[in-house]
């Protein structure tokens, strides 16, 4: 059974809505702050019942709404038991946990707001999406750090192929968080600055945290076509591998390519996970240049910043838009490429026009979790 994407919802610090974010990306813009500009979740979710959502849940649910609207999911004729929600999440609840715990420390445990307790649970944003869409079929959250969204996709594909659900809202989100940013900066894993060079650049000093999220509507191709909705892309392969370094990443990417029944030279472009991290970019660059020599490589985090686990979902959304538009987004500000990446065909400066048939989306984490997916054009 071919699994197709029939809706894409995307929010990032570059804007709201897949088309408007992609337009800014192809124009070579970068986000000025890490936050989604003029984000008002009530626009997407109505003004009732949102009071106790944390920021991650608001972004996730808004992305889900955008995706569901594009796919006309709520009029698609799926019964609630056929609809599932699968989300990748690792850091998304940290801000809520910290605020809840700090209030308990400061005011005493009997004075916290019990409504805020639910948000300390990592799976809560996914659950809130289920409530909004009356998705009673399945609700799962997968945590593998940076690889979370793609591992969630891999899990979701299994659920669809086994027929446990018929359609899925699948993706990830990360709400802006001073706690995550501050803690990673303190540990030297991130930088807080509006300056500084990004992915693959010489002199890069680390990633910057960004807010964002993306959700995809996934369903069987036949069902999608029979209800008259146009597939935006096909999830033709997923791969996941636990293991360090370039070798670990290559295993995940190879598995995705194999599952898609492709050869590496058929890949139109690689959407890398490169973030500006000194070490991570090196390993990934090495893996990509060995597996996909000569294939154009982009790095959306140069524009959206690093949205941690949500990045994989955002990159899938970007891939769908690339396929639709025949444009590969650029890596702006890449004036001096680190010599370690001289073998990569990095898309510098401006967007590149190409016939985009198969996009490889890669994701990794310092923990050794790697995952990859191939999004292909729907014929």
């Amino acid at each position: 059974m071919r699994i197709v994407i029939t809706g894409v919802g995307l929010l990032s610090s570059l804007g709201i809505g897949a088309n408007s974010v992609f337009e800014r990306m192809t124009a070579g813009d970068t986000s000025k702050s890490g936050e989604i500009p003029s984000f008002d979740a009530t626009t997407f979710l109505g003004d009732r019942g949102l009071r106790h959502f944390d920021r991650t849940a608001l972004v996730l649910a808004s992305a889900a709404r955008l995706a569901a609207e594009q796919s006309d999911l709520e009029k698609a004729g799926y019964s609630p038991e056929e609809i599932g929600v699968v989300v990748g999440a690792t850091h998304g609840s940290i801000q809520a946990i910290t605020e809840f715990d700090q209030e308990a420390v400061r005011e005493g445990p009997n004075y916290v707001n019990p409504q805020d307790f639910a948000n300390t649970v990592i799976s809560q944003p996914a659950s809130r999406v289920s409530v909004i869409f009356n998705a009673t079929g399945l609700n799962t959250t997968i945590a593998t750090g940076g690889a979370s969204a793609l591992d969630a996709l891999a899990y979701g594909m299994t659920m669809l192929r086994l027929g446990r659900v018929s359609t899925l809202l699948c993706g990830s989100a990360l709400g802006t968080s001073s706690e995550i940013e501050g803690s990673y900066a303190k540990a030297g894993k991130m930088i807080i600055s509006s300056n500084g060079v990004g992915p693959f650049a010489a002199g890069r000093k680390g990633p910057k945290l960004g807010e964002g999220g993306a959700m995809l509507v996934l369903e069987g191709e036949e069902r999608a076509r029979s209800r008259g909705v146009r597939p935006l892309g096909i999830v033709s392969g997923v791969g996941s591998f636990f293991g360090n370094g370039a070798a670990g990443m290559m295993r995940a990417m190879k598995e995705a390519v194999q599952q898609a029944e492709l050869t590496p030279d058929q890949i139109s472009c690689v959407v890398s996970f490169a973030s500006g991290s000194l070490h991570g970019d090196c390993e990934e660059g090495q893996a990509i240049s060995e597996l996909f020599p000569g294939v154009p490589v982009t790095a959306p985090k140069s524009q959206t910043r690093d949205c941690l686990e949500a990045s994989g979902a955002i990159h899938m959304a970007v891939s769908v838009l690339s396929i639709q538009s025949g444009k590969i987004t650029p890596i702006p500000g890449l004036d001096t490429v680190d010599s370690a990446f001289s073998r990569l065909d990095l898309v510098r400066g401006r967007a590149r026009s190409a016939s985009v048939k198969h996009v490889l989306v890669n994701a990794r984490d310092d923990s050794g979790h790697n995952a990859a997916a191939i999004i292909s054009a729907a014929s």
Binding site: I97, V105, F117, A118, S123, F241, H369
Partner: protein, 397 residues
């Protein structure tokens, strides 16, 4: 033909005992694992009892990770020993379910901040928190190179982990997976449930008319799952088969279950369907049975509806009456109980049961373990957000 998946090793680390024998003897004896909280001062709380893992010696591990990793490592070690496995094992998968994971790390940071100021917070301490590091730590400690994920689906996480492991093995992706759940005692959890008035002031009394809430707990359990073929080939002791799994979501409320038990019912029906079993085959249900007024009533309703006229003939017990609510570890420990009930033909009791509740009209195996052959056991687990799960275990003939 899909691979059949069996349980060949269990590693429970619980408030009533750790390791298969200690745990099972204590469970069948109806041991109450609760006591006054030792890990933190509860004088500022309304509630003071929890089920803590006693005399736990945290293993010395590279990088000095958080307490969830320590519990998970010991549970894994026990499971491997129980399965008669020796390292190195190479390509073994790992799935760990949890609610809060290494949340005590964040709690410690917040207390240091409050008492000594931000500058006193160790700059690398935060890196021990993100939830996926637990499975990384465990995999590195034991050298497991197979697929690896953490599934943070709150209080049903253990069941999710077992089901994901089963999918991996059935599809041939890997032959052996260590799957389970872990949660150390957390002040955030204690605070949250306390503020919801969902903690029992004295004892946890699942299905009792006078039940008043959960007893927060901590623990871990890991299970060795492998193909029937590989278990037979290496002559391993087989406790039970993981025959089916079912999931659903209430899509109703962030913390409350659906009042009609709609999702709980669907999860059980799906697990039976997935296992190719009829409801008449069910001998034992390990209930989610938290001891809150809402959960137990709704779960009882769902069980009665799924089991129909057989409802009163099925033994239903909640070992949370003994071990407390160990959150993400709960359904992993309860999975161990299901496997051992099948293996030993004894069903652990629901303790602290005094007054029957007409709204929970079930055979809850009150206070005394019961000898009864168990061929099919269902393991129910529900979670915040209305995430419902049920895993079916069967005897391998």
């Amino acid at each position: 033909m899909k691979n059949r998946v069996v349980v060949t090793g269990v590693g429970p680390v619980t408030p009533i005992g750790s390791g298969r024998e200690n745990f099972w003897n204590a469970a069948l004896a109806g041991t109450d694992g609760s006591g006054e909280v030792q890990k933190f001062d509860t004088s500022i709380y309304r509630f003071h009892r929890a089920c803590e893992v006693k005399n736990f010696v945290a293993p010395k591990l590279a990088g000095d990770p958080g307490p969830a990793t320590g519990l998970a490592v010991v549970a894994t070690e026990l499971a491997l020993q129980d399965a008669g496995l020796e390292l190195p094992l190479g390509e073994v998968g790992l799935v760990i379910g949890t609610t809060g994971g290494e949340i005590p790390v964040l709690e410690h940071i917040n207390r240091v901040r409050f008492q000594q100021g931000e500058d006193s917070v160790d700059r690398f301490e935060f890196l021990k928190y993100p939830v996926h590091v637990i499975s990384t730590n465990v995999a590195r400690h034991f050298g497991f190179s197979g697929p690896n994920v953490v599934v943070p689906t709150a209080c049903a996480a253990g069941n999710y982990a077992v089901a994901i492991a089963r999918d991996w093995i059935q599809s041939g992706r890997v032959d052996m997976v260590l799957a389970g759940g872990v949660d150390p005692l957390s002040t955030v959890t204690f605070t949250g449930f306390g503020r919801m008035f969902a903690i029992a002031p004295d004892r946890c009394r699942p299905f009792d008319k006078n039940r008043k809430g959960i007893t927060p707990g901590e623990g871990a359990a890991m299970l060795v799952l492998e193909t029937l073929e590989s278990a037979k080939k290496r002559g391993a002791k087989i406790y039970a088969e993981v025959a089916g799994a079912g999931f659903s979501c209430d899509a109703y409320h962030p913390t409350m279950p659906h009042p009609d038990g709609m999702g709980a019912r669907l999860a059980m029906e799906r697990a039976l369907h997935d296992a190719g079993l009829n409801r008449d085959a069910v001998d034992y249900i390990s209930a989610h049975g938290t001891g809150t007024p809402a959960n137990d009533k709704i779960e009882a309703t769902a069980i009665r509806e799924v089991m129909g006229d057989r409802a009163s003939k099925v033994a239903v017990s909640s070992i949370k009456s003994m071990i407390g609510h160990t959150m993400g570890a709960a359904s992993a420990i309860e999975a161990v109980a299901c496997a051992l009930a099948i293996d030993t033909g004894v069903i652990p009791p629901t303790i602290n049961y005094d007054t029957p509740d007409p709204e929970c009209d079930l055979d809850v195996v009150p206070n005394q373990a019961r000898s009864k052959p168990v061929t099919v056991a269902l393991n129910n687990a529900y979670a915040f957000g209305g995430n419902n799960s049920c895993v079916a275990f069967t005897k391998v003939a």
